[in-house]
Symmetry: C2
Amino acid sequence: MFHLQEYNEILIKRIQRLRSTRHRPDQFTVLVRQIPFCEEHGAHGCSVEHFFSKHHPHSYYSYQKLYTGKDLQDLLNQSRYMTRKIEDLREIEDLREKTKKQYREPLLLEAMREDIEDIALHKEKFQELYQKMHQLQGDNMLKDMELPVAFVTFKSRWGAALAAQSQQHSHPLRWITERAPEPRDVYWRNLAISYKIMPFYKIGVIFAAYLLTIFFTVPVTAVQGIARFEKLKKWFPPAMAIELIPGLSSVLTGYLPSVILNGFIYIVPFAMLGIAKLGGSISNSKVEIKSCNMVFYFLVGNVFFLSLISGSLLDEIGESVTHPRDFPSHLARAVSAQADFFMTYTLVGLSGFCLEALQAGMLLLDFIKSQTCGRSKENPYLYSLPYFRVIPLVSLSILIGMVYAVVAPLLLPFLVGYFFLGYAVYINQIQDVYETIYDTCGRYWPYIHHYIFVGLILMQITMIGLVGLKMKPAASVATFPLLFLTVIFNEYCKIRILPTFVRYSIEWNRTQWRMMKLMKKEVSLKLITRVQLVPTASLLFSLGTQCPRKSRF
Amino acid sequence: MFHLQEYNEILIKRIQRLRSTRHRPDQFTVLVRQIPFCEEHGAHGCSVEHFFSKHHPHSYYSYQKLYTGKDLQDLLNQSRYMTRKIEDLREIEDLREKTKKQYREPLLLEAMREDIEDIALHKEKFQELYQKMHQLQGDNMLKDMELPVAFVTFKSRWGAALAAQSQQHSHPLRWITERAPEPRDVYWRNLAISYKIMPFYKIGVIFAAYLLTIFFTVPVTAVQGIARFEKLKKWFPPAMAIELIPGLSSVLTGYLPSVILNGFIYIVPFAMLGIAKLGGSISNSKVEIKSCNMVFYFLVGNVFFLSLISGSLLDEIGESVTHPRDFPSHLARAVSAQADFFMTYTLVGLSGFCLEALQAGMLLLDFIKSQTCGRSKENPYLYSLPYFRVIPLVSLSILIGMVYAVVAPLLLPFLVGYFFLGYAVYINQIQDVYETIYDTCGRYWPYIHHYIFVGLILMQITMIGLVGLKMKPAASVATFPLLFLTVIFNEYCKIRILPTFVRYSIEWNRTQWRMMKLMKKEVSLKLITRVQLVPTASLLFSLGTQCPRKSRF
């Protein structure tokens, strides 16, 4: 169980990372939701001030309200459309100016005058929009747009940690506190969702992910119908034409289904990300972690188990449910039959790295966008490492590796090669290609740990089945304690290390207290400037205007 | 769903109760476990002082170490034995003194001299023991007996609430904080158990309770073999003699098995309490809550379900597992067949109230004790209301009532009578018979809520089955959303009200802050005196010497 030590090392790295970023404003800030409305002043803000200065007198520093940016966003979209139109008209005008010099036609002059009038009209409308936007950002209008959400800043990280971890009000659905995510990590749109209806969103997301996982088999089997070319010919006689071109039919029936399947699997993480975004998580990192989980279980279900189940799907599942004791031997038989498939799968994974290194998908997307929306004028945006796509795929490979280490060790060299290449590719990608959108601080590790645990459990169940198949029931029984020990070990990890990953301990937050006191003035100055950035950033983000970042190429 | 309002009302009552006892020292105190050893001073105490004065500078007040009382307890037991012996010898002497006046025999005088020497010897030994006990309580010895556990007192309830709710150290198995229970509620013996090995205790307890629940059927079926008198005669021919006495055989076969079964069920709560005590809970209330849960599930399993399953037990269970979809209709058929049994059960329950009112068990226990251990000299102790016995029984009656409200509403009047009588009996018992050992502050309510929820779910499953049996599958399907809604409602209760039952919110603890400031001096004086009581009480309790309370009769 080398695992615990590694877990601990990553924890230490996480703490070091958090320590090195200890002056970042998010470490002093708590996100407060469900702030009750102050009847007296007709706003949420003053009740925040009142509540925290009363209940956290030693550490409370200031607060920043949040506002809905929906109306503003509409106006901004309109104004953007307007500017584009004005630019287009100007271009046309310039063009006509040139032609005017050559031809001097009265009709052209007429058109030009109309264009100039058009431009003036649009400019007027733009001015109006500008006025409206300015009004919306006035104090009176802002009051109506107030959300019951605020960022509360504390004088010390210690105060923030205490406030974030405790229940504030005896009504547990009021004054929900939580460590604030990094400003660039906040998922602004979800902050507007009322905390009360959040559970419904969560149930909806789980339901949607569940449906996607279960019913993914439907398009897959439909597509794999292509493989049965004989049947296809019966329904759709024109398909006969394919036979006229030599070799095409074998490509179609042999290669196309697997390409389509892989294409589907490529799309799934993005679909899951889209689903997770609806779940009401307040930060991009949480959204990604959620979709990471969903994608992993999707892959385990639809790649690992589905490929194992040859023959009639439902019969097999039904048999496993009605005779759960036969599950290990079933699994072992299926696993050993499918070693070839997973070898191919691993090799296909290698081509995935090539795609990753070449950024083929992004290039294609960029090309399509530049052709259709005319976005090529703008700077291409940088993306962060798609954890939600990479982690589940790698975890699945680990799972396959662990299961096949028992059944067919010949698969292992391929996997080792896979991991080496993957390491080289991703080190390069992380250093040179992707931008860091937010600091993960090792937050993904507990999930990876969990995936490895799932793999370990599956491996041990397979082992029980395999040993049982080989007619050594005593050895099969002897493996049960191992399974039990694995579960106990996982529980131990949960108690021993997980809490520090999730919570922020008082002692750690207090360590720099002395230092803080010395540099208090400086830090609070910094804080003011930084915290002022947050609402601006919030408005900017909620408006969808991302700051232009350095170009990728 | 009148339930939510009731839940809320009980919550408000709980808060009021907590408020009315707001000067009690346990509201300012946090129990800290797994205190690391201070290498410098060779004790745990100084590291407590250091840690809390550093990390909770605004609210930390003082601390009280705890010591193991095992050696002391041994010595105290010895000295108790000694005093009893001396008393016995003195009584003999007094008796001989009287006879001496009458007879004046030389042999008697010899015996008397021996007795006097014996008394002197015992007195010397007693003096030695006294010296030893005194030494053990000296500072040097106490240092060795130190436990890594302390009660830490804060200046405000607010500070205690903050400290109790947050993770103190980045090593999550160090500095475990928890709201301290009332001094009289603390289960001192379990405080000596290291927090690290606590999970093993917990697993052990769950395992033991599980075994008891599952294998309870074995003695029951063995005992119910008596009912088959014909078989008994075959094995054990002398049993024929019973037939000679008219009527005895019918009493034996008809009444005895159910009496023995009820006797077993009467003993089970005490067995569960004994098991729960080994679970490492730090307070009596937690032990009782744990055994409450275990007894409830025991009763649901062994009284409700077992009585439903007529015929071969394992076949029936096996069928339910392999065809889970048939479970509702199975349940409905079994439930409607057993209405008579539960009517009898309810009526038997009424006799249970008579026993309760008469305190027959306690009288019997007292009688046996006075006959065997000669305890009659001491004051009979008062007991607290046996929640672990009463709550599961009443909850089971509620469950039966809910299930039969659908199947056989004729049972309901009996149950209503049962509850009315039960109310009258228990109100009387609580007011006049039992002593309050600790303030529950409504802590049992969430569990009762859970039991009612289990009943509701069972009722709805029965309903689905029953409607299905009556050949109305549409109505049966229409009941599913009800089941779903019940689960959702329970989840809502968990989010909405449960947290305040379990945690102590900052806002509430802060409300009396102002008042506190005014009376700070007075309170801190009180605190000192009270906190000093805690260790004394701890020693007293760990020594097993309970303060004599007012007699029951």
